[in-house]
Subunit: 484 residues, 2 copies
């Protein structure tokens, strides 16, 4: 339900932020002055409040009123919590809904926490049913009950439908803002019908053609409506072989279809062939962006998008699972080293060299994992080429083992003048790089087979194995060949 | 220049791939049979060639002809090099251009390498000027000269313009497929004008209103054309305060504008106010996808998208810089440990515990870096909140240091029953986690200040410091408190 706000190009959004920050800064300065007691309180208050304080808040209010909801969302996300709530209080209540839809989950939580049941109900009622469904998990049950009561029968049906689909399905991306027409009319009739609208739904690039029973027949591109003569029949121009999505399809597949076929909108059709909704490119863009972001975050073990101004306690919780997991694997690796304490005691150079063996194989295995995860996401890995890929990754690792293992062996020789140590170093590097390639390939493939997202957790498992494996291989070889 | 191919939903693309692979598999089987000499060659050849071989190739040809260029591109990327080239040879020459535009850079290179100058010229001539500009870096100079000669004066101008803009600018995303109108006419006149087109350019959701001197005045949304009466003047409906891009703007800013304001197309206007092109959402989607991919790849030190079927040698080169860099930092860390050999000799438990200190701080610092890089990309970090963020990250690390450092200290105590060692462990963890937070914050901030992409190389620098720093802090403290 984005309003038709008039605004300039987005470069402004950072200058908007700076203006708001500077107005808030002045406001804070004034507040501080007011709180200082060196001058009679009343006097200062009068002086300041009248001259500055109000003026800045009024200026801020004006500024906020002319901003697009998406820009206000951006500014709210970039402000520390007290300033954020001040700005949030100043936003006109009739825009609350649109802004809540735009902010990130973490920031939305901080805003909703300050709102009364009544305010939340009003905010939700400004939204379309598909948007209410997006907001629903964050709203108190009582509010949802109120909202539900205020909807029409059709809207309740839509909301119920939208809320049943899992987050990563087409059903969760879909909206219900469609213009539908019949096949047995002329373009002239369609044009007259459209002129009865004040505004067409956003992203209407095609009209959906349905029969008497709401069954989807095809689409009529607006372009065809425009370039053809008014007396032409819709039936002659309707496009039957169009892309249709199913509400249970994976959202990622829909995103790939939009990307591949350059779509602006696509119909969503249920198993009975009924048109139930549509997906538009703006939702797909948001989905692609949030997917790639959560992938980047999950690679660093951040479970969710973090509000940069969340409390220390909350942020720490977001990061703990990862650190705890890594600590466990580090303890295990430490025990592997511990079992070779006797060897290290006799040959302390081993302690200085062992992190090299473990580290490089981790880096190299991570490269393999990244390539495999990417190819899996694109569906490029099939039975017939998986073996080909494994052979290739092993060959690369063997090459790397000879080259970089050789360099590392030379490094060891220069330092310790021991040719056996140098050979142990090179062999351990080679073996651990091969181990990294095998593990880097099979961990994501296995996760995919088990139905889990290979982008999450592959790296911690990989590093656990290349670390412990590296220490074991290097210290093991050293025990055999160096210690008599 | 995507054709109006009729096709079903993309779920098919994987089944398309499987069909093609199975046809190719049969083909390969036949070839192998033919090559085997157990039967008189001519006989086998006749038998096989007539019965199977040709039939499969014909089937394959039919299959390829009905696929969308983007789907063929997808299939080419998922095939090993010999099969890829076989399929490429079978694609109708008049679709070469569209397909070359769709494949990834690495695969494009492998296809272009097999094409003659003549074939390349023909492929390029099928494309729009903005698409030729995308292809230009991969084409031999002689081909580009031929192509240039075949263009009209206006197209040459466009091509020259498109090629001058850097890859990450709006100019590189823009196309020239615009419908422009004047302000002083009625909608009726505009409709008549549009009916003269056979087809409107893809993604035409608005018409661009210009004056006599090509200066941009505003836009007329197609929706307004449809919902208003034909006798209305364009001037009454034109939207002046629309988002306009500049060819030198960063592509990423344009992408954010599209995402924020849910755009389908946006005008590109030069410094004289002249309309020079437009950017459409499909280009933006491709840009967002490729940006996020290159960010994921670069985090694993892959310099570029890798053709999964590239030669071992080529793939290895793509990965070497990263491994070499990591090897250097590992050597440095190794020397840090080396300088404490005396300490380790006296207390070998240190060797088993030191990787824990280094590793966990690396993980934690990486979380900080990820959050900072993300916030930098969104422009959320300003002077006024950078200090706030540093304090917060330090607080989180201190908390983590106490909690996980405490756990690690306990682990050390359980193993070695030495309270001093246990305290050294906990203190080293705490200090190195704090170091990780400071470095994890300042590395990306500094890179941003130096005008470099903070997503590239931040992690290798971070790990270098948390590794060497961790060994130094832990072994240093141990030398002071444990060795007398």
């Amino acid at each position: 339900m984005s309003e038709n706000h008039e605004h300039h190009y987005t470069d402004d959004v950072q200058s908007h932020l700076q203006q708001v920050q500077s107005l808030l800064g002045k406001h804070a300065l004034v507040e501080t002055l007011v709180r200082k007691q060196e001058m009679p309180r009343a006097e200062r208050h009068e002086l300041v409040e009248s001259l500055l304080h109000k003026r800045h808040l009024v200026e801020l209010q004006t500024k906020l009123d002319e901003l697009h909801p998406a820009d206000i969302a951006y500014i709210l996300e970039a402000l520390p919590i007290e300033q954020r709530l001040l700005v949030w209080d100043m936003v006109k209540a009739d825009r609350d809904g649109d802004i809540l839809i735009e902010v990130s989950d973490a920031v939305r939580e901080s805003l909703i926490a300050t709102m009364s049941r009544e305010e939340l109900r009003e905010a939700a009622e400004q939204l379309d049913t598909d948007e209410i469904a997006d907001l629903a998990p964050d709203l108190p049950q009582a509010v949802m009950r109120d909202v539900f009561k205020s909807l029409s029968v059709e809207e309740r049906e839509q909301l119920r439908a939208a809320m049943t689909y899992p987050e990563d399905s087409v059903g969760a991306l879909m909206d219900f803002d469609m213009v539908t027409i019949r096949e047995d009319v002329t373009l002239e009739v369609v044009s007259r019908y459209l002129r009865r609208f004040d505004e067409l739904p956003d992203h209407t690039d095609q009209l959906f053609v349905i029969d008497r029973n709401d069954r989807f027949i095809g689409v009529l591109a607006l372009h065809r409506l425009l370039v053809n003569e008014p007396e032409t029949d819709v039936a002659r121009l309707v496009h039957h072989e169009t892309i249709t999505l199913h509400p249970d399809d994976k959202a990622e597949q829909a995103a790939q279809a939009f990307e591949r076929y350059d779509l602006v909108s696509a119909p969503v059709v249920d198993e009975d062939g009924k048109l139930v909704g549509r997906v538009t490119v703006n939702t797909v863009v948001d989905f692609i962006r949030s997917e790639s972001e959560s992938e980047l975050l999950s690679q660093a073990g951040l479970r969710e998008e973090e509000d940069i101004f969340a409390s220390v306690w909350k942020s720490a919780q977001n990061r703990w699972l990862w650190l705890a997991l890594n600590l466990c694997t580090a303890f295990f690796a430490s025990r592997v080293i511990g079992s070779f304490e006797g060897t290290i005691e006799k040959f302390v150079a081993l302690a200085t060299l062992m992190p090299i063996v473990a580290g490089i194989a981790g880096n190299s295995g991570n490269q393999t994992t990244t390539i495999i995860i990417r190819s899996l996401a694109l569906g490029q890995i099939t039975h017939s080429n998986a073996r080909h890929l494994l052979v290739k990754e092993l060959a690369i690792s063997a090459l790397n083992g000879v080259v970089w293992g050789g360099v590392a062996g030379l490094f060891a020789y220069v330092l310790y003048h021991n040719i056996t140590l140098s050979l142990v170093m090179t062999s351990a590097m080679l073996l651990n790089l091969l181990l990294g390639a095998v593990v880097g390939m099979f961990v994501p493939l296995t996760m995919q087979k088990l139905g889990r997202d290979p982008a999450i957790g592959s790296s911690v498992l990989l590093t656990a194995i290349t670390d412990s494996g590296g220490f074991f291989i290097f210290l093991g070889l050293a025990t055999i060949f160096l210690i008599h």
